[in-house]
């Protein structure tokens, strides 16, 4: 499965590329020296001008004070230091984001796995059910759904209409209450569990059925089979989903922006990291500070990915390995 190769064995990919390179060289003798570069030109320009160049530029900017109009002034690590010592709003946004990631991702993956297992018992109509559960994932990142969420969790929104109808009173406007606003965003993220679910379903299909049959012969119940067979056999896919969804969740923006009208309110309770960075860059024109925030995010995401890879050999089981 390509998905496993993507995160699970990148070294192998490089190795394969290198091997085929050497093999081909001796055969083809540099027959085409110019053509590959011609075909690669769009990518090369894009990589240098749109990716690598801006990356290095933002590293430089992160050590300057720059407001887009005047000249940039070198300030060294001052921006990075200020984040942690002199900007409570930054710390708030980091906290909101951590809260968001740490709650929404495990919940989302748990739902995705539970539904995938439920769907994977050879029921008729699998394709239809799979589509039904995937639909929210497809729509979830749109502004339209964020708008809908704002109504649903408003004071007279759908949720309160339903709760009111069954007898609850004194219901809050969830989206306007600091204690609940982030929870509605988390719920929105969990709601889009369809794409990890599809990945789990594809993974479940790879689990050899004879393992379950053998376990059944040994008298294992459904619960034991789930923990002793499904989870270990699925661990590469769980790992893949975890890394991917964590990276996605750290970068969330649209929903918070639309639901809070760009403020991150009430009382900064939905001020996710990228939203605060956006405010710094495009409302306050603190381009240097925003770049420093971006680089910190890269470091955090990179570190988390590294930790996930580093610990993976302890809990990720690849079929055919001991």
């Amino acid at each position: 499965m390509a998905s496993q190769e993507l995160v699970g064995r990148p070294q192998k990919l490089h190795a394969r590329g290198a091997v085929s390179l050497i093999g081909k060289r001796s055969r083809g003798k540099n027959r085409h020296t110019v053509i590959p570069w011609v075909l690669l030109t769009p990518w090369l320009i894009g990589f240098c001008a749109i990716t690598l160049g801006p990356m290095l530029a933002s590293l430089y900017l992160s050590m300057t004070d720059y407001n887009l109009l005047g000249d940039s002034t070198w300030v060294g690590f001052a921006n990075y230091i200020r984040m942690f010592t002199d900007d409570p709003k930054f710390l708030t946004s980091a906290g909101v984001t951590l809260n968001y990631v740490l709650v929404s991702v495990p919940l989302q993956l748990a739902f995705a796995l539970a539904i995938a297992v439920l769907l994977n018992q050879g029921l008729a109509g699998l394709a239809f059910y799979r589509s039904m559960y995937y639909l929210p994932s497809l729509l979830g990142s749109s502004v339209a759904i964020a708008l809908l969420w704002r109504q649903i969790f408003g004071s007279a929104g759908l949720i309160n209409q339903v709760l009111g109808a069954i007898g609850f009173t004194n219901l809050p406007a969830w989206i306007a209450t600091p204690d609940h606003a982030l929870q509605t965003l988390i719920l929105l993220h969990v709601w889009t569990f369809g794409s990890p679910m599809i990945i789990f379903l594809a993974g479940l299909r790879q689990v050899p059925q004879d393992l379950y049959e053998a376990a059944a012969v040994d008298g294992a119940g459904a619960w034991t089979k789930f923990w002793r067979i499904t989870i270990p056999m699925l661990s590469p896919v769980i790992f893949f989903n975890l890394v991917l969804q964590m990276i996605h969740a750290f970068q969330t923006f649209t929903q918070s922006y639309v639901i809070s009208s760009g403020t991150g309110g009430p009382v900064n309770s939905t001020l996710v990291y990228t939203l605060y960075m956006y405010q710094q860059a495009f409302s306050n024109f603190h381009m240097g500070y925003a770049s420093a925030m971006a680089w910190l995010l890269v470091l955090v995401v990179g570190a988390l990915t590294a930790i996930a890879f580093g610990t993976s050999k302890h809990w990720v089981h690849y079929a055919g390995e001991k």
């Binding site: 390509a2 053509i35 990589f47 887009l68 759904i145 929104g157």
Partner: protein, 279 residues
């Protein structure tokens, strides 16, 4: 006895799956139904079947920003279609070169390409803005579309590389013997065989650009350049939450293209997600 309990269990599973699934898709269904309700009913009718039907919301929403929504749809279509074309052309060229041709520094460049797959976009946001600002490209579609023609979505390059590696090399060799150069092999052999992977690329590029918010929010400043998501957000800002009916109506219209893709591109969607983890 045994058989009966098994089928009971299955029935129960079907019931649970359907009930939970309906709960999941209730909010968007309710939005569709509410877009046909008179305004005040949106705050008092949690049911799906409107007691009163009206098309007022659509008429009112269509002109809510002074410019008809058709303009915003046109803008979104232009951006999305150009992005799809850009990604198809540039990513397939890059992927073919990486997968089949030999050149100096290939391992390094390929590793760099892979390295940018997981790169958070935030880190290039500010300098990109400065660059496009300096080029005077703000308030045009260029910052949204030009990068797509330069293969910056490494995800798709990787997807296509993987696909090309699965194609038999004998075909390339045969075409080369018949006198095809590298571009000829790409154009006549690889590109036609790549159709399934290209379809996945096209479908996901369309979905992503149709939903894209941050880029257009930063670059498109004049109302008549707005894409649909920006227009919806501006609609919310300009009226406040009083015009939910009209906002729902425009929201439903904005989701329609996604829903059509959902109906007609199921295979590509499922394949794309299952093989690469596209969102």
């Amino acid at each position: 006895m045994q058989l009966q309990s098994v089928s009971h269990k299955k029935l129960l599973a079907h019931g649970a799956i359907i009930a939970l699934g309906l709960l999941m898709i209730y909010p968007p269904l309710w939005m569709v139904s509410s877009s046909f309700k008179p305004g005040q009913l949106i705050f008092s009718e949690p049911g799906l079947w409107p007691r009163e039907w009206t098309l007022d919301n659509y008429a009112q929403g269509w002109l809510a920003l002074g410019i008809p929504f058709s303009k915003f749809f046109l803008n979104s279509v232009i951006v999305a279609v150009l992005s799809v074309v850009g990604n198809l052309v540039s990513c397939s060229l890059a992927a073919y070169t990486f997968a089949r041709l030999e050149f100096r520094f290939k391992p390094v460049l390929f590793a760099l390409m892979l390295g940018t797959i997981m790169l958070p976009f935030q880190v290039i946001l500010v300098p990109q803005y400065i660059l496009f600002h300096a080029l005077n490209w703000t308030n045009t579609f260029l910052p949204l579309v030009v990068p797509k023609f330069l293969a910056v979505d490494s995800f798709f390059v990787f997807l296509l590389v993987q696909f090309i590696r699965g194609l038999p090399r004998e075909l390339d060799d045969a075409a080369t013997v018949d006198g095809c150069g590298p571009f000829g092999v790409f154009w006549r052999i690889i590109l036609p065989l790549m159709r399934p992977a290209l379809a996945v690329t096209a479908v996901f590029t369309f979905i992503w650009t149709w939903n894209e918010f941050l880029g257009p929010l930063i670059y498109l400043t004049a109302t008549d350049n707005y894409t649909v998501p920006i227009a919806l957000n501006a609609f919310l800002d300009s009226t406040g939450p009083s015009a939910w009916g009209a906002m729902f109506a425009m929201s439903v219209l904005s989701l329609l293209p996604l829903f059509l893709l959902f109906l007609f591109a199921q295979k590509q969607l499922v394949q794309g997600i299952a093989t690469t983890g596209l969102k």
